[in-house]
């Protein structure tokens, strides 16, 4: 355990230093990402205003808060992609990683976790700018802030597990781009990325309750901008832990079977 923690600390420090060098590139990337929530925000603010100030319990100010916090959660949700797995398996790069005395997925988790630290620092000025333009209504309590802090890392881990699972399909098939697209479309609708889940039709919300998606978007955002009672906040964190555990088990099972199929292509 000590060994693993040491590894994480070292690896995170490494990626923080590496990514700070690319701060301009990182910034452009983050700015490009802002277009999406700004579009949603404008559309829903327009609807809210047309409906006499609010829609589904959200005022334009609350939508602004939702979609501004969205930008941080979205950044936390960026993990090693299935395309990365595809590349790594197709090109046989995985052979090299298999030589290390630790499961390769630790690499991904640690590297991206370090990167997130850079992302959070870079995000702050961006959030201030967006807040200045769109005037969000946001008054979180201390407990909401604390839960939010843990929830974004929970979201990060859930999404790491689910995208790793998706990526490992490449052990069996070599090209799965279309399948990924389908997954991303489902996620868009069922996670709260498109709109807050409470605006979705009731049956969609019921379906989403049995899936991990909403714990990676809607819950972390709502933890900060909504007014969930403490009990609900803790329940949410519990659900995140549950999904992370399921994810870890599934990744391990899939890895065990997948790796047998892996015949080092490439060098």
């Amino acid at each position: 355990m000590r060994r693993v923690l040491d590894f994480y600390a070292q690896f995170m420090r490494l990626s923080i230093q590496e990514q700070f060098q690319y701060r301009v590139a990182n910034y452009f990337y983050m700015i490009g990402m802002i277009a999406e929530p700004v579009i949603y925000l404008v559309v829903w603010s327009t609807v809210a205003e047309a409906q006499g100030g609010q829609v589904g319990g959200y005022t334009p100010g609350e939508f602004a808060a939702y979609y501004i916090v969205w930008t941080l959660v979205r950044n936390m949700n960026l993990v090693f992609t299935p395309y990365g797995w595809e590349y790594r398996i197709q090109k046989g790069q995985l052979s090299m990683e298999l030589l290390r005395p630790m499961h390769p997925i630790h690499n991904d988790v640690a590297y991206f976790a370090g990167w997130k630290v850079v992302v959070i620092v870079l995000w702050i000025p961006l959030a201030i700018f967006l807040a200045w333009i769109f005037k969000p209504t946001l008054n979180p309590t201390l407990i909401q802030g604390v839960v939010f802090f843990f929830a974004i890392w929970g979201a990060y881990l859930i999404r790491t597990m689910s995208l790793s699972l998706l990526g490992m399909i490449t052990f069996w098939t070599t090209r799965v781009g279309a399948l990924y697209e389908l997954y991303f479309a489902l996620e868009l609708v069922l996670s709260g990325r498109l709109v807050p889940m409470t605006l979705m039709p009731a049956w969609v919300q019921q379906v989403a309750a049995y899936l991990p998606f909403q714990w990676t978007f809607f819950f972390p955002i709502e933890a900060l901008v909504g007014n969930l009672p403490t009990q609900q906040l803790l329940y949410g964190l519990g659900m995140q832990v549950l999904w992370i555990t399921i994810g870890i088990i599934a990744v391990n099972i899939m890895w065990r079977f997948g790796i047998r199929r892996f015949s080092a292509v490439g060098n």
Binding site: A25, G32, I34, V43, T46, V47, A185, L188, V195
Partner: protein
């Protein structure tokens, strides 16, 4: 004339090449349908809560979406692949091979690539547009149809010019990949009529990044919103965009010193 023959030849080669990979067609269709489904879900959600968005009805927004998909297909089939290749060649110093050929270099770098299967998006967009238009119960006058085709063409030309300009910036600043990412994000704003955006954003989407001309204004032509001043303004702006992008490209090409020679 020579330029048109050249473009035709490149187009034929590209299509022959792509036709070899038929499975890609089905993957592309699937992806187009997914992107259509997402668009429809977004529209359905909005119109669950309201009956018009800033004066546009659900059906009219369906037309906007059809044009958005169609134009997106054109960009990804014909414009983006050429510009990506140009960008890469500038960076790697391979552009000499194009510049030394006895053809207009701007024409040449703009017609070398064509992603035939991306036309699936154009087809899906056209179907959406057709369905929405027939549901609206309007009749299409000849003048209206001509105006629609004219503004659609102008929109495509403006987007092309815009791409050529940002790609040409690679002559001076080497890494422009992130700018391309930025464009993709911003083009998504075209799903909705630009009128809903706050002023500063609407003006940027009209004059800085011509998303308004590519999507919203063609939709205005079909829904009887297009006025003569807008049409003439679009024409003037198209000419301006074409001229300035050609100037920037030429300026860059003159400054360019290859690495391969």
């Amino acid at each position: 004339m020579h330029s048109i023959r050249l473009a035709g030849t490149f187009l034929r080669i590209a299509i022959t090449n792509e036709l070899q990979y038929r499975v890609n067609f089905f993957i592309q269709i699937l992806q187009s349908l997914i992107s259509l489904a997402i668009g429809l879900i977004g529209l359905a959600l909005v119109f669950d809560y309201t009956s018009d968005l800033n004066g546009w009805s659900a059906n009219e927004l369906l037309m906007v979406m059809g044009i958005y998909l169609l134009m997106g297909g054109v960009i990804r089939a014909a414009i983006q692949p050429n510009m990506n290749r140009l960008m890469q060649e500038i960076r790697e110093g391979m552009l000499d091979y194009a510049l030394t050929k006895p053809a207009d270099s701007q024409v040449l770098v703009s017609v070398r690539e064509f992603r035939f299967w991306q036309l699936a998006d154009v087809a899906v967009g056209a179907v959406v547009l057709g369905v929405a238009f027939s549901r609206s119960g309007q009749t299409l006058s000849v003048v209206q149809a001509l105006a629609f085709i004219a503004v659609l063409l102008m929109g495509a030309l403006m987007i092309y010019s815009f791409w050529l300009m940002i790609t040409s910036s690679a002559f001076w600043i080497i890494r422009v990949d992130e700018i391309v990412n930025l464009f993709e994000g911003i083009y998504a704003a075209g799903r909705w009529p630009v009128g809903i955006y706050p002023n500063w954003l609407r003006l940027s989407l009209t004059f800085l990044i011509p998303v308004a001309f590519a999507v919203t204004i063609p939709a205005e032509a079909l829904t009887g919103r297009l006025t003569l001043p807008t049409l003439l303004g679009a024409l003037a702006l198209t000419v301006f965009f074409l001229a300035i992008s050609r100037w920037i490209f030429k300026l860059g090409a003159r400054n360019y010193s290859g690495a391969s020679a």
